[in-house]
């Protein structure tokens, strides 16, 4: 799926204090600090910015606005270029079906993320640059992206800033004693059974 981005973020250099908030949270790491008259100022790389507006809505100085691009930016990974068998294998290992929507904002499917990984993406930031995932709400799809990356054997440690902090548990990772202990209250065994039915080829990572 190709997404058309028509805007990009711009920093008002007079207002910017160089606090680095935007640098730390940009999901495509498009922002860096640059010295200007001896003071650090944020600079946004237009060619990577996908106009998610996350920086704009966290900037404490309200120094970031959106501008129209002179020509639209096209974002997307061509799934047909990747081996369908390898894409399916990654998704299966991550306990996802290839058509599953992982990014609800831009409707990006698991197979698109898998194809991006096969094309060289090694971090959630690189996946975001290639597919557009992570550039809507910036919240919901991070663990899906991490699970798909880990399914290829990549070790995911930490983001460069606050973008994300690390891998978290999924229902397939819960130890049996935890499953037993809390099943009565939280229906763990039953949810696991349903998930395993949906992903018959899954198995533990």
């Amino acid at each position: 799926m190709v997404r058309i981005v028509t805007q990009f973020a711009v920093v008002d250099r007079q207002k910017c204090t160089g606090c680095k908030t935007c640098v730390q949270i940009c999901p495509v790491t498009a922002i860096k600090l640059e010295e200007e008259e001896g003071k650090p100022r944020a600079l946004i790389d237009e060619k990577y910015c996908q106009a998610c507006m996350i920086c704009m809505t966290r900037c404490p100085e309200i120094a970031i606005t959106m501008n129209l691009r002179s020509s639209p930016l096209k974002i997307g990974t061509e799934v047909s270029q990747a081996s369908s068998g390898e894409v399916a294998a990654i998704c299966r290992k991550a306990h996802m079906y290839p058509e599953q929507i992982v990014c609800y904002c831009h409707r990006i499917q698991a197979k698109e993320v898998a194809a991006a990984i096969l094309s060289g993406a090694k971090t959630p930031e690189q996946v975001a640059r290639m597919t557009g995932a992570r550039t809507g709400c910036g919240i919901l799809c991070i663990t899906a992206v991490i699970r798909l990356l880990r399914a290829t054997g990549l070790e995911i440690e930490r983001a460069p800033g606050y973008q994300w902090y690390g891998n978290t548990v999924s229902i397939w990772d819960l130890p049996d004693e935890v499953m037993q202990k809390y099943d009565k209250e939280y229906y763990l065994l039953r949810d696991r059974k349903d998930l395993d039915e949906i992903f018959p080829g899954g198995g533990h990572q």
Binding site: G136, R147, T168
Partner: protein, 477 residues
């Protein structure tokens, strides 16, 4: 039954996430033939709300009942000069005007200062997906001034910190837990029933409002719809949180309005009380709405599409109303059911698994007024959707979370033309407005008549059949 008298809808608000209120030319409640149906008329046993006629009365009454309940909790852990974070959520301000929640927060602050001899008290307001929203509320209710400059919003993309739990590491917003002590100040609104399924409802903010993105994402994408509720419980149970936790203060709401404030030192015990309470408060209206077989919905409320309300029930819960989400034996799709369920079945992996469609009763969805800032394109993709006016359409189009919404929706010039069109293709006179009317619902006359007729049987079914089952499933006898 009071014919042709509608309930006041929640007024529009000035916000970067909304169209200018001057562009909202007509509200659903003003349409000819609309009428208000109160929850009390339908279900007389649901508790009556506290009478809150003006901001002054709200402040006076909420302050008193908050003080009354706080008098029963132990605050002795907090020593003079200790730092305290009152943890709040933006959701609380969207309930029945928001002033009651604001006053509850102010009262907690004052009582902690009074009893514990510390003024080092911060208000930390968590956000959902509109990261500036807490700041809007802090400004609107002058909480920054009240907290002496110590009130701030926090977003899930802010700096995090790890919390070690029995099931692994999760991540929280660092600022939420920066103080020596925390007070959990939340509400019991049933809200996203499809997520929490009334299993540990009061714990949920520990995996949401106070958490960073990966914790929220794990809850939504890496666990099932029942098992995910283990995550906030584990975070709450962690040594890190237990070391800081003082008490929980809950604004008690019902479909009728605000009914009280409850404080407790033990969140687990408090949650058990509220599980029973919420099933009894919301079970009947949810079940009645689930019986509607055809309807035109009008979204007309200053919140994002899924969080607009009618009779205290969210629009997204109505989208799922064809399944009893209180019934824990129903193993519907894992992950975010309301998103996955709305996508076409494109994979054989789904064969044999219960995958209910979106509520087939929804014949048309008219977006008259809502906020941007929530992934909602799937609603337009699955439901015949009309958007009223260019400004509202542009708002959705220009949002990074719904950039393709208008690819699937039709723009209409005004609300009346939209309703006329929807009536023609849906062939129904049943209209329901999600406009946040307090204590009831604004509906068409035909739907009002149907609701009044059916409500007694629904009440009997809930009391005699469903409630016993729901309670049994949750180990409550």
């Amino acid at each position: 039954m009071k014919a042709n008298t509608t309930l006041p809808p929640v007024p529009p608000r000035i916000s970067p996430y909304a169209i200018n209120p001057s562009l909202l030319s007509e509200r659903a409640a003003n349409l000819p033939g609309m009428t208000g149906v109160t929850i009390s008329e339908l279900f007389p046993d649901i508790p009556k709300p506290i009478s809150l006629e003006s901001p002054e009365i709200i402040r006076k009454k909420i302050r008193q009942i908050t003080l009354n309940t706080l008098a029963k909790v132990d605050l002795s852990k907090i020593q003079p000069q200790d730092s305290v974070n009152i943890l709040a959520s933006h959701h609380g301000f969207s309930l029945y005007g928001g002033e009651a929640y604001a006053e509850m927060l102010r009262t907690i602050r004052d009582e902690v200062e009074h009893r514990c001899h510390t003024s080092n008290i911060h208000l930390c307001v968590g956000a959902g997906m509109r990261f500036r929203e807490p700041e809007e509320y802090i400004q609107k209710y002058e909480l920054d001034k009240y907290f002496h400059g110590k009130a701030f919003g926090m977003a899930p993309v802010d700096q995090g910190l790890p919390i070690e739990t029995e099931i692994g590491t999760f991540y929280a917003v660092r600022r939420a837990f920066s103080a020596r002590w925390i007070i959990h100040a939340h509400n019991n609104d049933v809200r996203e029933l499809h997520y929490h399924r009334q299993m540990g409802r009061l714990f949920k903010p520990f995996a949401m409002s106070y958490a960073t993105i990966e914790t929220r994402s794990t809850y939504h994408q890496s666990m099932g719809p029942r098992s995910a509720n283990l995550i906030p419980r584990m975070i709450y149970d962690s040594p890190f949180v237990q070391e800081k936790f003082v008490c929980s203060v809950i604004l008690q709401v019902a479909p009728t309005g605000i009914i009280g404030v409850n404080a407790h030192n033990d969140l687990l015990e408090q949650d058990k009380l509220f599980t029973r309470l919420n099933l009894s408060l919301y079970g009947k209206i949810v079940t009645l709405l689930s019986c509607i077989e055809e309807v035109i919905l009008i979204i007309d409320y200053p919140n994002s599409i899924p969080y607009t309300t009618a009779g205290g029930i969210l629009f997204c819960n109505f989208v799922n109303a064809n399944v009893d989400e209180f019934d824990l034996d129903i193993p519907f799709t894992p992950f975010s059911r309301y998103t996955d369920a709305l996508y076409p079945v494109t994979t054989p992996l789904y064969q044999g698994i219960l995958l209910p469609p979106s509520n087939p009763a929804i014949k048309a969805l008219i977006i008259n007024y809502c906020l941007k800032g929530h992934p909602s394109t799937f609603f337009a993709q699955q439901l015949p959707t009309l958007v009223v006016g260019a400004a509202q359409a542009d708002l959705l189009r220009g949002c990074a979370l719904t950039p393709t919404f208008m690819d699937y929706a039709i723009q209409v010039e005004d609300l009346r033309k939209g309703v006329d069109f929807a009536r023609r293709f849906s062939k129904t006179d049943y209209i329901l407005a999600f406009d946040g009317a307090v204590g009831g619902l604004n509906v068409s006359g035909a739907l009002a008549e149907w609701m009044h007729k059916l409500a007694p049987d629904v009440a009997k079914k809930v009391d005699n059949v469903l409630m016993p089952k729901w309670l049994r499933q949750r180990g409550i006898h």
